[in-house]
């Protein structure tokens, strides 16, 4: 019982935010517009970094804008290369080497019906990115390194070949499985139950292309993330998206056989932007077939997020998560309701405040746990 509670807490805490599809929806961009990893998440491109510094924040703390009497200094050519007096942060160390990072630390308050309230401070993630453009517009070496908490290691590390016909790309190495919307929260049922989330990168190869409003990515990976794997069969996943300026629609499928189980996942997702208001939805069907007994289990997970840009830099969000962990059993569905606010205070600084309210079924009263989370996010 206590263990289960701990597991739930761990899950909730593991839900570090990484990508923000609501921003892509707001602007009508594909993930590749702002992320080096074409299918989203992780390091920002130069466009993404500029966007994050100019469009997102409420203001720039320490900007010396109208200081009309500040001394006017023009640097010599040599000095200009190294000295920068404005607050803009340049992620390019050299012509073809860029860096990036994410740091999150949290305060969490937990409330369960059976236990006393508890609270804790945690470092959520410390992460550094490196991008080497070995051949401009053709070959990139990408590293997404987890620095902490816990042991260090590469979350993603791959070679990316771009500039192929139809704006195609090939990715080879260790990377996140392309499936569904890569939302910020790994604990959402659509990411947790499908098994395709930030905690489950896998080794393999990915092919993708973008053509006008259409983009697609097909990956073949070991499939170890989704369960036991004997290296005899592979995980195949495909995601296809139509991206319009205020609307997007996508389909995702994945097939992952192992020696004992055959897993088939199918999902649809969509987004609509109306002025300041954005709505993102995804629904996934997960079908597991036991190869020996022939037993089939079906799960349904859905996700509905609304985002309201209240004013420059401030976003209000509500999320409704739903999970039916076995369609054959009635009355076992779970819902989770979250509300929160995100505030991009100044470039590279985001403050998040979230309240997550979990429902429970009578069999698992311990799941009825509510979290209040305050988070500081530094990024560049």
């Amino acid at each position: 019982m206590k263990g289960l509670l701990a597991a739930i807490v761990m899950f909730a805490l593991a839900g570090a935010a990484h990508a923000e599809p609501y921003l892509a929806l707001r602007e009508g961009y594909k993930c590749s517009q702002c992320h080096v990893n074409k299918t989203g998440g992780g390091m920002r491109t130069s466009f993404g970094s500029i966007y994050a510094q100019t469009r997102l924040p409420s203001t720039v703390l320490g900007a010396k804008d109208d200081a009309g009497d500040s001394p006017t200094i023009f640097r010599t050519a040599e000095a200009a290369r190294y000295l920068r007096s404005g607050p803009f942060f340049d992620t390019w160390l050299a012509d073809r080497v860029a860096i990036g990072g994410d740091f999150r630390t949290r305060y969490t308050q937990t409330r369960t019906p059976q236990a006393k309230d508890s609270s804790s401070f945690d470092v959520q993630e410390g992460r550094a990115y490196l991008q080497f453009d070995l051949v401009p517009d053709a070959m990139t070496f990408y590293v997404d390194e987890t620095l902490g908490p816990g042991s260090a290691g590469s979350r993603e590390i791959f070679a990316l070949f771009t500039g192929l016909p139809y704006d195609g790309w090939i990715k080879a190495g260790k990377f996140l499985t392309p499936y569904g919307i890569r939302i910020y929260d790994d604990t959402s049922f659509i990411r947790e139950t499908t098994g395709f989330n930030y905690n489950t990168p896998d080794n393999g190869i990915e092919f993708g292309f973008e053509r006008g409003v259409f983009s697609a990515a097909l990956a073949i990976q070991n499939g170890t993330a989704g369960g036991p794997e004997d290296n005899q069969s592979k995980l195949v996943s495909l995601v296809m998206t139509h991206t319009f300026s205020d609307f997007r629609l996508g389909d995702a499928v994945a097939y992952n056989p192992s020696s004992t189980n055959r897993r088939f996942v199918f999902g649809e997702f969509a987004g609509v932007q109306l002025g300041r208001l954005g709505v993102i939805a995804e629904a996934d069907l997960i079908r597991d077939e036991n190869k020996d007994t022939g037993d089939v289990k079906r799960q349904l997970a859905t996700f509905l997020e609304t985002d309201l840009e209240v004013c420059r830099g401030v976003n209000l969000r509500t999320v409704i998560d739903f999970l039916d962990p076995d369609k054959a059993i009635g009355e076992n569905a779970r819902t989770r309701f979250s509300v929160g606010a995100q505030w991009f205070v100044t470039p590279s600084v985001e403050l998040n405040l979230f309240l997550k309210l979990n429902d429970s079924v009578p069999q698992h009263p311990e799941e009825k746990t509510d979290f209040l989370i305050g988070e500081l996010h530094l990024f560049f």
Binding site: E27, G28, Y29, K30, Q33, T45, S46, F47, I50, Q53, T54, R55, T59, V60, A63, K64, D65, G68, S70, T72, I73, F74, R75, T76, A77, A80, R81, R84, S85, G86, P87, F88, D90, T91, W92, S245, L274, G275, R276, L277, L308, E309, V310, C311, R312, L316, T318, F337, V339, A341, P347, L355, L357, K368, D370
Partner: protein
């Protein structure tokens, strides 16, 4: 217990929303204070040309050579402009693809927002103003908080290098802009007549919503579809003060189907038109606040 939290959270978010909407209308109301606005406009108009003049003098006096300034400009350009405007200044940067309007192609020397007459190159202060304020409602950011004045001046000097025209062509004198006249009902009525007579509504729509009969057919010089500007948003791309709007439509929006109206209209008619198109601003309350694309400034 759970329900109580739920209800309070809901109420809190509604309150926050209401507060934000209220703050917006408050701001809108104080802005219409005519005297204060006139004063602000005069100052704003002079600010950028004064700043640029000062910067030019500093360069002349300092030990930095003009090469140094453009080199500094290039360093800034690479990290802050290239993603959209491209390394070659052709508007085809890696992030330019989904943008509409497309980033400016600097190689042509054509600029939309100038104080100089149609066909002429812009002044340094025009470019400096655009770089500082950005182009609201488009991807072009405002750089006044992220780059210092020197950095913005340097990057403008660098941007000019992309077009040989800046080396060879003389720049025409800027048009004269008098003090904006006060708002009167007569002037508004005159503006309305001029709007109808000059068929502004063909493109911009009778009510200024950018939905005139010709609107769907409009293309810019590069053959890219362009929207006729929607006046009801109240946020103008070339600046929203009376003087800005006067300047924008008197000198013309180069490279777009927006006609240039310097000659056929009297000065009085032009100020009247400015006041009229600005009066088309529509406060749609809650609905407009939520469902209109935001152009919140810094």
């Amino acid at each position: 217990m759970g329900n109580r939290i739920r209800v309070s959270v809901l109420l809190a978010s509604l309150l926050a929303l209401r507060g934000a909407a209220f703050a917006q209308t408050q701001e809108g109301e104080t802005k219409t204070d005519v005297q204060a606005e006139l004063q602000r406009l005069r100052e704003e108009l002079q600010k950028y040309s004064a700043e640029v003049k000062q910067l030019q003098e500093t360069v002349a006096k300092s030990t930095a050579k003009s090469d140094d300034v453009t080199t500094q400009g290039r360093v800034i350009y690479r990290s802050t402009c290239e993603a959209c405007h491209g390394r070659l200044g052709d508007g085809k940067g890696p992030g330019s693809r989904p943008l509409n309007p497309q980033p400016r192609d600097f190689t042509t020397g054509n600029y939309k927002w100038r104080s100089t007459p149609t066909g002429s190159l812009p002044l340094d202060s025009d470019l400096f103003r655009t770089v500082s304020e950005g182009v609201p409602g488009t991807a072009m950011p405002s750089w006044k908080k992220l780059l210092t004045r020197e950095e913005r001046y340097a990057v403008v000097q660098y941007v000019k290098l992309f077009s040989p025209r800046f080396k060879d062509e003389p720049i025409d004198e800027p048009i004269a802009i008098a003090d904006p006249p006060p708002r009167t009902p007569e002037r508004l009525a005159l503006g309305r007549t001029a709007y109808e007579k000059n068929k502004c509504g063909d493109c911009h729509g009778t009510l200024g919503k950018g939905d005139g009969p010709s609107a769907p057919t409009l293309k810019d010089d590069k053959g890219v579809k362009i929207e006729a500007f929607d006046f009801t948003s109240g946020v103008f791309r070339g600046g929203s003060s009376d003087a800005d709007v006067y300047r924008t439509f008197t000198t013309g929006v180069a490279g777009t189907p927006m006609p240039q109206y310097e000659d056929p209209l009297t000065e009085e008619q032009r100020w009247a038109l400015v006041q009229y198109v600005k009066s088309l601003l529509e406060d749609r309350g809650w609905f407009g606040y939520v469902f209109r694309k935001p152009t919140d400034p810094w």
